[in-house]
């Protein structure tokens, strides 16, 4: 009886409903239930009515103050009502909210700064590509790890032992893997010129199919399609530590002269590179995985740090169009450094405009 009286008093205050983003699929419901009642609620339901008359009950966690309803249709309208229960007894029932429609937008304003930065960077890149097309000489600073690629291949040739090349442990959707595959093409061409065997154990099935084609094409490009051995580019396993065990075993048994670790790595990085170091192989690593970089720096002879991995293809090919993009990267970095220093100085004088920009 007391609960029923309470219910009459609290039969007010409809939930507030709004569209949180422009995806056209979500509505956020703010439930203004009095705090005095919160502790008593054991079951909280949201009654959803669609403009086509369909009614649904959503069971949500009792302590939630806001709830985002997903997978809605932006062509329909929805309204909500709160039903709160305490051990099966209804203790709170709100009025129906106003009808609201999930907003569907054609541009995400939250991504505007990113869009501007991307456009500026693209313009800088196109400018430097145009410069490269006009045959203007572009200077590239020497990168020790890339200078060492030829040395590493040469060592394998002298010793008559294979090169092991690893493309990282992420799929083809990761740009680091694509960068690694680009470098694989260069390394294969160079190794092919000296008839040095290159072994590519793969972790991901899609990466395997692409790596196989890249190696095959690289040999064809240098006029030595006969050097391609399909058994040297193969799918090992997609188990992280199974893969580490397989590659480590190959390094030890075949005493590879050179190991390349390019792409993105996880905890297996040290197992791979330390095993390679123990066999005395010359090792070149390149990764953008910040957590694994220290392991590679310690265990490998040369390490391409972060962006150097992405610059490698241009650096090795010395193709003007590709080197133009590296100049663009350097200029963009310079601009970012200037902006960061300026904003840091401004914040020292309590002029904080960074939050407004990003």
């Amino acid at each position: 009886m007391i609960l029923r009286v309470m219910l009459l008093f609290l039969f007010i205050s409809p939930p507030k409903v709004f569209s949180p983003d422009g995806t056209g699929k979500k509505l956020t419901i703010v439930m203004n239930i009095p705090d005095t009642l919160r502790t008593q609620i054991t079951t909280l339901n949201l009654l959803r009515e669609c403009s086509d008359g369909k009614l649904d009950t959503l069971n949500i966690l009792p302590f939630l103050k806001t709830y985002t309803d997903n997978e809605l249709d932006y062509r329909k309208e929805y309204r909500y009502k709160i039903l709160a229960y305490s051990n099966g007894n209804l203790i709170y029932e709100s009025e129906w909210s106003e009808y609201a429609r999930p907003t569907a937008k054609w541009f995400d304003k939250g991504k505007l700064p990113l869009f501007i930065v991307m456009m500026v960077f693209t313009i800088i890149m196109i400018f430097y590509i145009a410069q490269a097309r006009a045959n203007k000489p572009l200077y590239l600073r020497p990168i020790a790890g890339l200078e060492a690629v030829n040395e590493a291949i040469g060592r394998a040739t002298e010793m008559g032992r294979p090169i092991i090349y690893i493309n990282g442990l992420t799929g083809i959707s990761d740009i680091a893997t694509i960068a690694a595959l680009n470098i694989l093409s260069h390394v294969t061409k160079r190794a092919g010129q000296f008839e040095t065997r290159i072994v590519v154990p793969c972790y991901d099935p899609v990466v395997y199919t692409i790596a196989r084609e890249i190696v095959k094409e690289a040999y064809t490009t240098i006029g030595r399609p006969d050097l391609f051995n399909p058994d040297d580019v193969y799918f090992a396993t997609d188990s992280q530590f199974g893969y580490a065990a397989h590659v480590a075993a190959r390094m030890v048994r075949e005493q590879s002269a050179t190991n390349f670790f390019m792409g993105y790595y996880f905890a297996e990085s040290l197992i791979l590179s330390e095993t390679g170091a123990s066999t005395g192989a010359i090792q070149v690593a390149g990764t953008d995985s910040v957590a694994q970089l220290p392991f590679f720096v310690v265990t490998c002879d040369y390490t391409l740090i972060g962006e150097e991995l992405y610059a490698a293809s241009a650096y090795l090919s010395r193709e003007p169009l590709l080197t133009g993009t590296i100049k663009a990267q350097d200029l963009a970095k310079l601009l970012l450094v200037i902006i960061m220093v300026l904003l840091s100085l401004l914040s020292l004088f309590n002029v904080n405009i960074t939050l407004g920009l990003f």
Partner: protein, 207 residues
């Protein structure tokens, strides 16, 4: 004709899809999300085909190795394990209490944990190599590592100001260098993506 199918068409497809997906990233509209969801389904379909090729590669690799007495035992184990898991999975299913799951949980998981645990030994030998004093940088590295390692131990907690020093090392010089690398990586990712979309980088189709 070969050049058209192996070079020109893939490059054209990458250009068109690359531009569409770049625009899609900035458009939250459901139509744009549908394009994204469909592309994900396509990529899953392509992945499943790649798995077929990968399994053929796996079996061919190990079958050939059976002829070599040095590798034969390992390859035999690989082929038998693979065949057994496939058969058990097909016959008994892969539900929670199935034999497939039991083998996975009682064999695969411990084997992976064993390989993972090797890291402790590898870390020790790698640390020894890193901390050998060979120059100024190695000395700075060794001193910093000593402070951080010591500061995070139980004894380190009793040394005054040690926790603050460790926190400062992790939050200022360590984080600053990490962010520097991450900014470079971000620009590298965008540059590589643009190079591939515009067809400037074409090593992935053989150069």
């Amino acid at each position: 004709m070969r050049h058209l199918f192996e070079k020109q068409i893939p490059l054209a497809l990458v250009f068109i899809i690359g531009i569409i997906m770049t625009i899609q990233y900035f458009v939250p509209h459901p139509t744009s999300q549908n394009v994204y969801d469909t592309s994900l389904m396509w990529s899953r379909a392509i992945s499943s085909m790649a798995y077929v090729m990968a399994i053929i590669s796996f079996l061919r690799f190990h079958t050939k190795r059976l002829k070599n007495k040095n590798y034969a035992p390992y390859s035999l184990v690989a082929i038998l394990s693979f065949t057994a898991m496939v058969l058990i999975g097909f016959i008994g299913g892969t539900a929670k209490d199935s034999l497939f799951q039991k083998i996975y949980e009682n064999m695969m998981v411990p084997l992976q944990a064993t390989t993972f645990s090797l890291l402790a030994f590898y870390m020790s030998s790698a640390a020894y190599r890193a901390f050998r004093i060979r120059g100024v940088e190695a000395t700075v590295l060794m001193i910093t590592a000593f402070i951080v390692i010591f500061g995070t131990t139980t004894i380190g907690n009793y040394v005054p100001k040690m926790n603050e020093i460790v926190e400062w090392i992790m939050a200022v010089p360590n984080l600053a260098s990490k962010r520097g690398i991450i900014i470079g990586v971000g620009l590298g990712v965008v540059a590589t993506s643009i190079k591939i979309i515009l067809g400037i980088e074409r090593n992935w189709v053989g150069g």
